[in-house]
Symmetry: C3
Subunit: 440 residues, 3 copies
């Protein structure tokens, strides 16, 4: 059974995740197209991913699956014949979803199609235009400022044609049909923290969990942002009700403190589990109320679904300067941050897996713990004392109205201590697990 928070995956999960990021970094991904396909193929070498292809035009709630976008090359030739904004040098140079173009334009006209970041003049911004046909280039502000007047050649060798939306899915069945969802977006091109870090962590976690017997079933989605979650929900509407807990996994590779954006419900078990783990992490963290912006939690938490899905990240959506720029690169993310993030996710999963409601079978006064070897005698050490408190808390609150997470919250003890105490008491037949639905 899934259990203690041992270091998941290989001996060096941080290094493994970082290697995957490094490999996928150069690929130009978008919400559709071969970049996503290649990315999913690579992930499928690590975990038994099912790849789905949904035809363009497929209606998905209020939306339709868009045409597929692919790109071979792109650049600008300056009046002096210099080739700049080369797609092959950095795929951020192209406005994502640019329609094909090959023509000559004067600088004034070109400027309407150029995007830069005055505040960070050396960085290339990341911009998209999925639902309004347009073409454009993203360049450093320094370069933009130095462009001479004159005629420019702009060239984008892209296609925007009926095709497919591609996404990956892995379902690991557990003892029950109730699911934990882990969803990451795979649509961003050469950006490491957002969201190659999420892709790598989700892959590592899936690899870890498929080797274990779990209480919950686990569903992993590797999908393009927004349209991907809308597509999955539209095509799997009936399955959504099985999702008991969920995470959107993003921005988990940088060195910032953890940020937890709560589900729309705000006090769902996933919210309480994550916050419990973060509170006991002895590190600062940010707790953010749900707001209908950000990543795919917007869709999972739309009022027609209202799933218990939160978002656990480090520096989050729009909150770090490198966000959506060329500075979100291989130097921003680090193996040790990825490993720490993975540990936090597995700690939360440990809470979800082991959170049960027990009934104290000796509810009238305390049972005599000493005769069962559960109680220290003269001269308790600090360590054994703590355990004693966990035993006493579990006994006191196991009235059928409190699950172990609630006991951990009220007692201030870490969940693992409470879980171990409950197991010890159950072995002594002082505690009985309540079947779900019979208690709190």
């Amino acid at each position: 059974m899934y259990g203690e928070a041992t270091s998941p995956g290989s001996e060096h999960p941080g290094g493994q995740m970082y290697d995957l990021i490094k490999e996928l970094y150069p690929v130009c991904r978008s919400i559709t197209g071969n970049g996503v396909r290649y990315t999913l193929e690579r992930i499928a070498q690590r975990i038994p991913l099912t790849v789905h292809e949904v035809p363009s035009g497929t209606p998905v709630f209020d939306w339709a699956v868009p045409r597929e976008w692919n790109i071979e090359d792109a650049y600008i030739v300056t009046p002096t014949g210099e080739k700049i904004a080369e797609f092959k040098a950095n795929n951020l140079h192209v406005l994502n979803y640019s329609v094909p173009v090959h023509k000559k334009v004067m600088l004034d006209e070109l400027r309407k199609h150029l995007f830069s970041l005055p505040a960070h003049p050396d960085w290339i911004p990341y911009r998209t235009s999925y639902y309004k046909e347009n073409w454009g280039f993203c360049i450093t502000h320094n370069q933009l400022e130095s462009l001479p007047d004159g005629e420019y050649e702009v060239f984008i060798d892209s296609t925007l044609e009926p095709g497919h939306l591609t996404y990956g899915e892995l379902f690991i069945p557990g003892k029950t049909d109730e699911e934990v969802l882990l969803s990451c977006h795979v649509c961003h091109p050469s950006l490491c923290n957002d969201n190659l870090s999420g892709i790598a962590l989700t892959t590592q976690l899936a690899d870890y969990l498929r080797g274990r017997r779990s209480r919950y079933s686990y569903r992993f989605l590797f999908i393009p942002g927004t349209i991907g979650s809308i597509t999955w929900l539209a095509l799997n509407e009936a399955r959504a009700s099985n999702i008991r807990h969920g995470f959107v996994v993003t921005c988990v590779g940088d060195g910032g403190p953890f940020t937890y954006k709560k589900s729309r419900r705000g006090t769902a078990e996933i919210d309480r589990a994550v916050l419990h783990v973060l509170r006991h992490s002895r590190q600062g963290f940010r707790e953010v109320d749900f707001y209908p912006y950000g990543y795919d939690e917007r869709q999972y938490c739309s009022p027609g679904f209202d799933l218990a899905v939160g978002s656990l990240s480090r520096s989050s959506h729009g909150q770090y300067p490198e966000y959506h720029t060329s500075a979100d690169n291989l130097e921003l993310v680090k193996p040790e941050y990825l490993a720490e993030s993975l540990q936090t996710f597995t700690d939360v999963i440990d809470v979800l897996e082991n959170n049960r409601t027990y009934l104290n079978l000796n509810p009238k006064c305390e049972p005599q713990l000493g005769k069962r070897g559960l109680y220290s005698n003269v001269g308790a050490t600090a360590g054994s004392k703590l355990k004693e408190m966990a035993l006493l808390w579990v006994l006191n609150l196991s009235d059928g109205q409190h699950d172990l997470l609630q006991i951990a919250e009220r007692s201030g003890e870490p969940f693992a201590e409470i879980r171990d105490a409950a197991r010890a008491l159950q072995r002594c037949e002082l505690l009985k697990e309540l079947s779900p639905g019979s208690g709190a």
Copy 2:
């Protein structure tokens, strides 16, 4: 329909209100009598007020309408023949509701009938003795201290006889029978902030609202404090249940920060609406829990009625040094403060008028706002971004369980943004208004 928070009334509502205060300032009002009658006549020149006369002795719950008090003149003649405490110089000099007296008394005896303010030796206090027969004079403490021994002539030419209690009422019917009550007390003599400011603001607001079509009906009461609200409630007991929201309007002309004293219920819609407006005013304000003292909210919030009536003022009851003294004069109140207060009242009324519950007709995932022209594309500006958040919040929370005010509260967006977003979404048929009672 009543709507946006445009500046109500004339071009210079602050000046209009101030002019009314200036005109009514010299009048000696009390809980009955010709001062109130004259005041209501003047107001009736601005708005179609109905003036009610309730005979003395009429039983009103545990009380009876008192005898009517009128006064022509009053003064004291000192041993040296000097005339002091002249009613005609300042009507605060007479203990309000003094019985008639004309006699000679020694200083020791006179002192029992003199009231002054040692802490503000230049100010005349305002005192009353409605329910215990007495006579008296209010003078500055400096004057009190300088009175020589000897025999004084006291003269109060008043009458206290069966007559009437007079109050004014204006009912503006709206689309529904549910009422918003605005109640101000008209019993105070030459005191500007308390409560000529409330009288002037209530008049201005009534004049503004009678020119509009509103959702709610509006009831304006110009009544003597305590006995007036008791009388109205006793004579209109059945109508009280129509009052859905209400304000006691007082002390709205000085420069202090706003004070909101909540209704007894504490979390009524009126309480939430006022606090929402004040929180978004970018100014400091005071939020005060209900307590059974103050003005007529005491009666409206008595347990047998428990109406959702709060009190919105600036410096409040007893909280400013000039309170109930001759220093509450034409210099304490200013047109700009009155105008700002009026704006705050109309902002709150805008919330009440427009607070509805809507149902998101596309609750599963977000609708595609872009194809409806509701979404900015590349390069959103700060302004349009805000609106986007309002749209997303309204969609996310319009599950039938949240009204617009709750959405504004949870989102942190100003009500007007949320209201505009809801209207835009309704025009796109993404939102449907729930009829009252079918939702939250």
Copy 3:
């Protein structure tokens, strides 16, 4: 009827309590045995205590009444012939419940049976071994450090044999069967604050209450810690449901600020009553959430009982350096602290006794207090104003949904003011007491 918080008991209750502590201080108590018997005999000279003897081996829930322990003498003879750790000098020298021993041991062996306090090298610790057979001595750390190598004679003249567990009980019937429980542990030997102070205060309070007619019945328990409350609950299981409010009385003689450890329920009437009294005491105090450790509240608040029992102490369990050492002596506790503690208990009991729910018989608008002599007229003084507020609060909130304690809490007025206001209003027939169960 029980009522105002007059100084309970004799003229010098602090001195009386201190005298009882001084008399009982030398006695060696334990969870069973003659020390407890002697202690209860002495208490029975003050109040009509019933002494119960429960045979060893009696099953009490998960436990059994232990064998009875008695001791006559104990000491150690050093290699140089010096007699140390003499029981007759200080009964803390013997590990409480030591089995008999008389033999010679080398220092190395002896050290395994010696307990000291390195942090307080001049103090003797208090240690017990009730449920694991052992023998031992408690000595100062200085003495431990100075012991020379060599052979020691150890002598403990104790018996551990089938006998009885002894406890004392006093039940004072009131107007109703509902009980207030006051429980103190009597098992500690020469330790003053923990818990001769609790014994003395409980005795004094019983003596005071038995001379009065009370609304509640009062049950006083003088029991050994843990096994005593388990025994009482096991033998009186059906009666436990009569306990409406309860206190564990301990550590009430030192000069520390009050500490209130709430019942497991957290918001029971006893919790609210104690915290109300402490908040109005104008002294700092500590409010502690329930935790399943400490004294007999652990048993009363076990989930099978979940009684509304809190613990009101000064310095509390384990929170002062002298705790469970020879420094918890006659100098640590003082008559004035005991008297102040007693006053706090009686203030809380006054709240419990007088907390009723009333119905305002004139709920529509305020009644006219003036005509009933309840209202000050011109020139209220601060004192009479306060009373006015209490009258208005009681009228406003006596809607059948608020008891007097809730009115005191919401108004911020001391309970005694609210109680007096309710009595005055009841005398005027403005208020009617609701029979329990008909209101809040």
